[in-house]
Amino acid sequence: MQSDCYKNGYFNIQDIMASQERISCKFEIEIPNMGFLDSSSHDSNLKVGSKLDLPYWLIKAIYNEKFKFVNIDLPKWYKKFYHDILEADACVVDLRKMGPYYYDFGVLLLNLVETDIGLNIAKTLLSCFRSRFRRIMDLSAQTDHRDLYRAISKLDYTETEMYKAGQLDANGFIRWQRREFCKLLPSIIVTANKNKRKRTDSNGD
């Protein structure tokens, strides 16, 4: 099952960060001159059976379904145990702890696993997203974010983006109601430098 890497563009920060997540893997063959990757060994070559935590983008480059140079160990957040937890009640789970890029990374992972495991992961992601939506919508409607730190800290990056979008809507509405757009405000640069500059003619024009 192929999924697009770099869905938002090659330079998209979100993608870069998501693909930075590490996966634990075991090397089945020896790789010459790659010994520096393993900080604990002093060999110039990478030995068979060395277990390393490598970032996703590196593994994606060397992963090959047929030859299996590396054996990938799925991060525990995407294993069956957590699937059951998410199915039980997705709203209380702390997704930020489970990797701040839970959804994005999950989608990227689908390239590295077999079809049926991948399908499970995909389905879980989808249902989890759907059930958490209500919570995000309610959170974003509240405009004082200081009280919500605890709740927001449990959201993963994608959900935080959605929360911010919702906040934009809510704050925009309040600004409109208070008619704050009617007031002309001086730019920040002007007010910061106001006391430093001398006002040449203070009489109104």
Binding site: S202, N203, G204, D205
Partner: protein, 589 residues
């Protein structure tokens, strides 16, 4: 004469589509007038520049700086008593529109029909015209023509010069017709100087500028509740600074009341009518300004202070109880006890007092036995004024607002230049700016406290002395509060308070009718002298010091600067002070 008969046609319609330059004097009445005028200018899309000014020199400088901006210049509460054409040297197309409550108007302004126009209240037009001397009595047209033909300009302001005549007189010296003419002319001249002396003798005030502008707005159908409120504040300031008498004030209050009723008419839902405690539910939003007439107690800033502090700082009540003596303080406590108010309630802020006490307080103060015991009458304790309410919490009387705005303008704390104070005071008048209002009221309280403290000092150290025909009091040099006291209105307030308190504490008959001057050192070389007229029940608003100062200065050749528009405040060089004061004593005998 240049009094405008139809302000809408001759003023507003003339400045539509033109650029306007406005000079506003720094006093509450002028600020309120400016707010009203600003509204009118906005309605007609007239571009304007506004400049606040404080003194004659400031007017000159500002005019020279900005004169190319506009050909139509409006002056509010400044400049009507000066010969504008002479001082400012305007180009020929410039037209000045004067709105001023200060009198007497400079006669040259009144008779310059081309460049100067004066706006007064429509129904007072006749009276104003009568107040100014007749043209024939002051200006001799023949003389003027001769002068122009001879081109004798020696800068002298005297219009009927004898110089041009002298050349011709050599030929005609013994001509009997000519001698008769000279005799008539001399008579005419002496009559003229007498008329001018009588005219300029007293400075006084007439209708407030804000009322004049409100009248204009009303006649152009552009008036609303806000403008009405501002004109009420302008009128109130005139009473606070003793620019007008109580009866004149009451007359204007009645006039304004008709406007108030017109704008704030509420159909009574309840057929039983409206009582003060249960107003009928309004048709209008709570955020709209509502004004109503109120007979309020003569206690300054009552709603923002405790009763005790309010009575302490109200000039009339403080003098009634002689608050600076211990006996006076005891009498005050007795008074409060008679009203049935426990002392700790009186020390609480009025707004937080028990409501039963609040309600009784107003009624009891007017009860007969109390009035008899403490010897005051109804007019003394009650003041007719207006109260405005907007939003859920804000109730302000016109007096509160006037005090607050004046305090912000005469505030010396912080390094504020004229424009800053102007803008702050304008913000205070703006209803939406509650913070500025609170700040203003707090500042007003501070100022009142300072004045009280100073009066206490005067009384304790017997600094108010009678010297000849007037009383005088000196402030010490180097005191921190001198910059505060040396401002236009504060100095006068101090003088009035000092005069009233002195009269309350002394029993001499001679001092009853004496005016008072106060001398405040400005810096090492200059002193400010301000004079107030004697304290009388009626007609105490005519100030004779303008002319007296002038004469005394001339006699002693002192270096005196009449820097403000109000001629009863002067700046004098310290070295000339004593001889000036001696001359003043002689002049005023």
């Amino acid at each position: 004469m240049v009094f405008i008969k139809d302000a809408k046609k001759e003023f507003l319609d003339q400045i539509i589509n033109k650029r306007v330059l406005v000079f506003v004097h720094l006093d509450v009445d002028a600020l309120c007038s400016w707010k009203i005028l600003q509204h009118l200018l906005h309605c007609e899309h007239i571009l304007y520049s506004v400049i606040p000014i404080n003194s004659k020199q400031a007017l000159e400088d500002a005019y020279n700086q900005h004169k190319q901006v506009a050909n139509n210049i409006i002056l509010i509460n400044c400049g009507a008593t000066l010969d504008l054409v002479e001082i400012l040297q305007p180009p020929e197309e410039t037209i000045f529109y004067l709105i001023d409550s200060l009198r007497p108007l400079e006669v040259r302004n009144v008779y310059n029909g081309i460049q100067i126009k004066i706006i007064v209240l429509q129904n007072e037009l006749g009276i104003e015209q009568k107040l100014v001397p007749e043209y024939e009595d002051i200006f001799d047209e023949e003389e003027e023509n001769d002068e122009e033909n001879e081109e004798e300009e020696d800068g002298d302001e005297n219009l009927d010069e004898e110089e041009p005549e002298r050349n011709r007189s050599k030929r005609k010296r013994f001509d009997p017709e000519y001698l008769e003419k000279m005799h008539a002319k001399r008579e005419w001249e002496s009559k003229r100087s007498k008329i001018l002396f009588e005219y300029y003798k007293y400075t006084y005030h007439r209708c407030s500028s804000s009322l004049v502008l409100f009248d204009l707005a009303w006649k152009s159908a552009k008036d609303n509740n806000d403008l009405l409120w501002w004109s009420i504040i302008g009128l109130t300031e005139q009473l606070i600074n003793c620019k007008i008498d109580r009866d004149i004030y009451t007359r204007y209050v009645v006039e304004l009341n008709s406007h108030v009723l017109r704008h704030n008419h509420r159909p009574a839902v309840n057929a039983l009518g409206t009582s003060n405690t249960n107003p009928a539910p309004d048709d209008v939003s709570i955020n709209c300004l509502k004004i109503s007439h109120l007979d309020d107690l003569n206690m300054v800033l009552l709603r923002h202070w405790s009763i005790l502090e309010s009575i302490y700082h109200s000039i009339d009540l403080a003098c009634l109880f002689k608050m600076w003596t211990n006996k006076g303080k005891k009498k005050l406590n007795e008074f409060l006890a008679d009203l049935g108010l426990p002392l700790n309630e009186c020390k609480q802020k009025f707004a937080y007092m028990d409501s039963s006490f609040k309600n009784d307080f107003k009624m009891l103060v007017a009860s007969e036995n109390i009035k008899e015991k403490y010897r005051y009458d109804e007019n003394f304790i009650y003041l007719s004024t207006f109260i405005a309410s907007f939003g859920y919490t804000n109730k302000l009387t016109a007096f509160d607002m006037a005090y607050a705005v004046e305090a912000l303008m005469e505030n010396v704390d912080g390094e504020k230049n004229l424009s800053d104070k102007f803008i702050e005071a304008l913000n205070c008048l703006n209803r939406e700016n509650l913070k500025a209002l609170e700040c203003g009221i707090e500042t007003a309280k501070n100022h009142l406290k300072k004045i009280y403290q100073q009066i206490q000092n005067f009384i304790d150290m017997n600094q108010i002395v009678a010297s000849g025909p007037f009383l005088q009091v000196f402030l010490e040099e180097g005191s921190n509060e001198n910059p505060f006291f040396s401002q236009i209105f504060t100095s006068k307030k101090l003088a009035r308070f000092a005069l009233q308190s002195y009269l309350a504490l002394t029993k001499g008959k001679k001092v009853r009718n004496m005016p008072l001057i106060v001398c405040i050192p400005l810096n090492e070389s200059n002193t400010l002298i301000a004079g107030v007229p004697p304290y009388r029940a009626t007609n105490n608003t005519e100030n004779c010091f303008g002319l007296a100062f002038d004469e005394a200065a001339e006699k002693t050749k002192s270096r005196v600067n009449f820097s403000y528009f109000d001629t009863s405040i002067i700046e004098i060089n310290n070295e000339d002070k004593s001889k000036f004061l001696d001359a003043l004593v002689a002049v005023m005998q």
